[in-house]
Amino acid sequence: MDYQPLLLTFKLALVTTMCLLAVGIPLAAWLAKSKSRFKPVAEAVISLPIVLPPSVIGFYLLLAFSPNYHFGQLLESVFDIRLVFSFPGLVLSSMLYSLPFMVQPVQAGLQSLPASLQEASQTLGKSSAQTFFRVLLPNIKPALLTGIVLTFAHTIGEFGLVLMIGGNIPGVTKVASIAIYEQVESLNFAEAHVYAAVLLAISFIILLTVYTVNKRLVKSRWVS
């Protein structure tokens, strides 16, 4: 039994989630307060992965990352980076693929906070950064947790995108969902079953944790 695809799946989900935290929170903060006329465009682009088949995103990213085209060439000649069929390429495409799952809950959380919280913090002499990290973010913990967990779970569930961008390189890009497909194709049902059962159990536990913890977080606001 080869556990590498499972480990790789969780490594990918973890790295993707951490990178998306860094990228998604500022993006959500901008969307939450922006009145720019480009905001609907940005929102539409961010939400695309929800409606598009993963193979569509995978196809365009494959073209973009491929050394045969401009962007891929540029990356390779200037930075010596090849994204196609590599782990960093998987992380980057997973980030795009899961972007709405991080941005939307955080944005909704920030928008649901009364404007007076931010105004009060300003009148108490605090900068925008202090206000954001000490007042706004701590008060949207349930939304943050939802964003983190959905991103993590969504990345675990990737298949089409990984197949297009990463292929099936053991230890580099062969994640559990690909391994299941490969085992089934070679009629190796027992091994496919193990991968599938592990993914099923872990996904369920993750979601159960979110709902339990979120309930407690909401409740803890009422109890000192």
């Binding site: 007076s116 919280l117 105004e119 009060a120 009148t123 108490l124 002499g125 008060n139 009422w222």
Partner: protein, 283 residues
């Protein structure tokens, strides 16, 4: 002395209007802003606080320019010496009462001040509670002292007592009077409650459609300068019976023996002499 001269377009539910105000307030005075909702009272407070920018204007507080659109001066909210008490209290739910106060404290850790303030509003036993576990009156008191932690020159109150019952209101009115005296604050308060304005405010600005329509003491603004010796009530005739006319006044029915050609539904006035009235203290 506080000089205010501002212009700002307002987009209200009832349509667009323009806020135009030009007034001067004494330092250490207690001013009430009175007027219908949507008149621009809260907007004026937020402009003073630096939370909303007017298109044109100048604000000078005790010789310091906070805003001058012509000279492109606009002191950010953080640098203005103000305390703001919001209508919804705006206490941070993630922090305890003490942490809310500590958050407001500038760099030096003057915890003694925080304890003094907590004692001033009898909240010392609630320091470790989260805001969501407090009653409306308690939240209001915390919001009030949190606004004072930075020792501001000016305290801006947006309908601070509106959510409170009468007992709590009286209690907080005392606290406000005491804080006003002790800290030498200039207080500007939005209020709809006439007795409160009469009790607390030395100056009243009546605001309508973004303009100051009257300015003066409560007596001058509301016409209470001269007391009258008769009062007039408005009522509506419910029925005309042989024993008298039934008139509905303030949800109460009075039977008045008055001859005349009355019709059901007539709007009438009832006049009585002050000498005939009796006063009774409520429990």
């Amino acid at each position: 002395m506080i000089k205010i001269n501002i212009q700002k377009k307002l987009h209200m539910a009832g349509g667009d209007t323009a806020l135009r105000m030009n007034t001067e307030l004494e330092a250490n005075s207690f001013t009430a802003l009175y007027g219908p909702s949507g008149a621009g009272k809260t907007t004026l407070l937020k402009i003073l606080a630096g939370l909303i920018q007017p298109e044109h204007g100048r604000i000078e507080v005790n010789g310091q320019t906070w805003l001058d659109t012509e000279r492109s001066i606009n002191l950010p909210a953080q640098k203005r010496s103000i305390g703001f008490v919001f209508q919804d209290f705006a206490l941070f739910p993630n922090m305890t009462v003490m942490e809310n106060l500590r958050y407001a404290l500038p760099d030096r850790k003057d915890e003694r001040l925080l304890l003094q303030l907590l004692e001033a509003v009898s909240m010392q036993n609630f320091a470790q509670r989260k805001p969501d576990t407090l009653s409306g009156g308690q939240k209001q008191r915390v919001a009030l002292i949190r606004a004072l932690v930075r020792k501001p020159q000016m305290l801006l109150l947006d309908e601070p007592l509106s959510a409170l019952d009468n007992e709590m209101r009286t209690n907080l009115q005392d606290v406000l009077q005491q804080l006003h005296r002790e800290y030498g604050l200039t207080i500007i308060m939005v209020s709809h409650h006439l007795p409160e304005i009469y009790l607390l405010a030395s100056h009243v600005l009546q605001i309508q459609h973004g303009q100051i329509v009257k300015s003066g003491t409560a007596g001058e603004v509301f016409g209470w300068e001269q007391s009258v010796n008769s009062i007039t009530l408005l009522g509506e005739i419910l029925s005309v019976d042989p024993q008298g006319v039934k008139v509905l006044v303030n949800n109460q029915v009075i039977i008045i023996a008055a001859a005349g050609n009355w019709q059901i539904g007539d709007k009438v006035t009832i006049a009585c002499q002050a000498a005939d009235l009796t006063l009774k203290k409520l429990l």
